[in-house]
Every structure is written in C-alpha cells, then in structure tokens.
Amino acid sequence: MITVEHLVKQYGDFRAVDDLSFTVEKGEILGFLGPNGAGKSTTMNMITGYNSATEGDVTINGFNVYDEPEKAKRCIGYLPEIPPVYPDMRVKEYLSFCTELKEVPKKERKAEVERVMELLHVKHMQNKMIKHLSKGYRQRVGLAQALIGNPEVLILDEPTVGLDPMQITWMRKLIRSLGREHTVILSSHILFEVNAVCDRVLIINHGKKVIIDTPDNIIRTLGGTNGVRVVVRAGEEAFRTAISGISNISRCDALDEQVEEGLTAYAVYSSDGGEIRDRIAAACAKRGIALFEMNAIQKTLEDVFIEMTGKEGDTK
C-alpha cells in the first residue's frame, strides 16, 4: 500500500532523513518512533507530497507521489503535527471546504461532513469559530479533515499531543478502529501508545532506520536479558552467601524497589544465559530463606528504545 524506497532529505550539510526504506501493508498500523528531531515529521511530509525528497521514491497505492501527485494525494488523509485549520472559519464551514478541496462529489459533501463530525464528536461544535476551540477540539477537527473522502491511507503526526487523558484513550481506540479499514502511519514519542495501537513499529534515529518489527518481536529479540528478579525475606549478606555456591551467576544487585515490609528485591544475572531460577530456589530453600517472587527480567519497548536511540544522550 505504501512503499518508501531509499528516501533521503538533505538540508545543506544536514541529512534529516537518510536512506529510509519500508513498506506498509493494507490495513496495517505502523508506528513511527523516534526522539525529537529524528526525522519523523520530515518523512511524513515527504510521504504526503508536501515536501519533495532529495532522493528516493514514495509510492501510495501504486501511484508515485512525485510523478502522479494528484492521484497519490487523493488516497491520503494527512493530519500534520499542528492541525491545518483556518482560525477564522467555523467547524462545519471548514469541513465543507475540505470536502470541496478533496473533490468529494457534490451530492455526497453534506453527508460526508456529517459523517466525520459524528465520528470525531465535534457536531455540537459545528458553528463555533475554530479559533475559539481548545487544543483537543482543534486536533479532532484536524483529524476529521484527514478522514474526509474516506482515504485509504491515513498519515497522523503525533495525533494525541495536547489531548487530556480521557481524549487520549478515546483517540487511541478510534485509531485502532480506523486501522481496520485504513492503512495508517502514526508517529509518536509515547512508547506505550505505539505499543498499544500499532501492528508494527519503525524506530528511527538521526534519519536512519534502526529497526522495523512488531512490538512483541522487538521486545523478544532485543529485550531478552539473562536476569532474574528475586524477592526474598533476607538481608543482603545472607542472600549473597546463599547464592554464592551457584557457579554460573555473574552478578547480583539489590534493586531499589518498593516491596512489602521486610522483603528485598534482587536482580541476579547468569553468566551463560542458562536457567538459574531452579538453582536459586534450591539455594534459598537450603539456607532457610523465604522466597516470595521470582521472574525473568524482560526489557520494555522503552528500554529498547532508549538503548537504541539514546546513546548520544539526546532522548526526550
């Protein structure tokens, strides 16, 4: 549905997007993840044909964005970072302008405006001037605009920014449901959101692709550690002595974590990746140490993200 090939955007000496390639299948939701300034918005602006690419190609539904811009743009609904609304227009007036701009057939325009207003719950605001709307409502009007004409592809740049927690949950649900009929690319720097909404995640940093995969796969392949979290009722000294007999333990750290009164949490790492849980359990039992919890330490998407993008310390 969307094919991006060797996309490059050069600003003088600065490469904002560097050889980015990926495809998005029909009905898929792809999350763009990256620190600020990673090139998310620049890439989206190139996909939608707002800016041109220095090199590379973007194909939407078989139409090259640069060779057949009108045909390609007809398949796209775009919500930029700042909703592209005219402050001096009323909500309904603005949306009917958009139906005309997007060449919705004349007879269907009225119904289309009603449809998107209902979908985004802005119908009660239809006669308000956009400049008098709150950020959350402007964002909704902006999304309503992107949905006009029911385009096959939706490109949403940080759709939940500026919304309150209730609206965020609602917006995520909406995007999830839109993903059933549309192909969606959405950018975010909120990892939880990407994890909750997207089928696949593309992490980019300094304009380069770091990884593209399902959130689960990313965690499975990159999130594995050799660590085990252990909660026991024992002093540090006693616990360390108890496990000192296990040959393949490389490290044991006391975790700075709130657990129940009298209990302590430790992270224990094996040196060879082999299973150590049974040995720890046996060692504790032998020393009469009460064992309360034990589980393998999994990295979250957040940990992976920070590890892959935050090396230069510019993660936000």
Binding site: N45, T48, G49, Y50, N51, S52, P69, E70, K71, K73, R74, I76, Y78, P80, I82, P83, P84, V85, Y86, P87, D88, M89, F97, C98, E100, L101, K102, E103, Q145
Partner: protein, 288 residues
Amino acid sequence: MKAIYKRELKSYFTSFLGYLFIAFFLLFIGVFQYLYNLRLGYANFARAVNGTATFFLLLVPMVTMRILAEEKRQRTDQLIFTSPVSVERIVIGKYLAIVTVFAIAVAIVCVYPIILHNYGATNYKVAYTTIAAFFLLGCTYMAIGMFISALTESQVFAAVVTFIVILFTLMIDLLVQMLPTGNELALAILIILAVIIGVITYVMMKSKVVTGIFLVLSVGGLIVAFLVNRQSFDGSLARIFGWLSVQSRFSLFMYGIVDISSYIYFLSMIFLFVFLTVQAIKKRRWEA
C-alpha cells in the same frame, strides 16, 4: 481551484481586508474625481482614474503580502498542498480571489461616468477603455505582488519589496530620461545586467552549466550585436527600461488612444507573474 477561490474570497470579507481595500480605493478615486471632474471641471473621467493609479503603491501590498504567507503561518499550507489540487490551480484560485475583490471596486467605479454624463458630455469610450486599462494595471501589480509574497515568508518584507517595485515602475519614466544614450556605455551596462542576472540564476538554480550557457549567449550575443551594428545600441537603455514601464502604457488611454497592445502587454505580464509564482512555490517546496 473553485474551493480555494471561494474560501479565499470569503476570507477577504470576513476579515475586513476586502472591505478596507474597496473603501480606500473608492475614497482615493472619489477624491480625484471630485478634484478633476467636479472642482476643476474636466469632462474627462480618465484623469481621475489616472490620478488614482499612484495609490496602487499602498493598496496592492496590503492585499498581496498575506496571500501565501498567511497560509504558511497558520500551517494550512500543509492542507492545501497535500490535497489533490495542483499548485497551478491553487495559485490561480488565490489570484482570482484578489482580482474579484478589485473587480468589485472597479464595477462601482464604472457607474461614475454615467452619473457624470447627467451634468455634461462624457466621452464613454475614453472613460471605459481607461477603466479597463486601469483594471488590468491593478491586476498586473497584484500578480507582481503575489510573486514577491511567494518568494518570502515575511509579510513585512513582501509588502516593502512590493511597494518598492511598484514605486520603481511609477518612477521609471523619470529615470529613463536620466539614462546615458551613448552606445558604448549602453553595452557596458547591458553586460553588467547580464552578469547580475547570471549570478541570480546561479544562486537560484545552483547549476554552473545553465549559468555558463546563459552568460556565454547573453554577453557574447551583446558583443557580437555591438560589433555588427553599433548604432542600434544608441538609446537602447531608454528603450529597454521604457518597455518595463507599466505606468506609461496606461497613461496613453487618458488621451483617447485605445492601445490594444497595452492590453496585451498587461495580460502577458499577469500571465508571466502568475507563472513565476507557481515556479517559486514549487521551488521553495523542493528546498523546504
């Protein structure tokens, strides 16, 4: 195109800008009409129109400075440039909207000669051909103003440059009289101009080949032409700059000369600057 045109036109009348433009325009023409036709008793309505032409200096930058910069500021350019409407149609839609605002004002002015006719003989032919030329003159300035606003993101800068360019076209007849007429000096100045244009081309296109070809052809051509027929350079500067004078093409109508070539001149200038606006926007989006 229709959507852009309709929205744009509506915005002129929701933001007072359109009313302001028409009101000022009618004020200026009213003052001149009072002065020439009523106070001084000239029967020629064209004189009043001619006097008003100077005020394009103030009126045109007022409407053209925001024509593209405003979309950029509101970020709505991201909506219109990602819609299935081509840049050409967007620019034409916007241009037609300001032309319509101007046409409303001119339509009101068209009634004046009829009113004047009640109190004496009015030459309708002179009056209406002048009004038509005046309308095209205004449209030409608006196309130039729109082009300048496409070159910059700053509304203030666009307004100031448009003001200076219009001022230049108004003063060009005076300046032409001061130009030297000697043929060697003319050659030198033309070569300098060719080099300046060459530098601008290089800065805009960053292509050494195109600039090189342009410089060889223009400078070489000038020198060859000079060697072949040096007399043809006599007074050439005055002719070239005179050709740029938008204003002088307009004043002819006042004397009852219906100069069709001037209409064509204005229409070509409008076409040229609308085209250049489209190119400027395409180029800017290429870089941005």
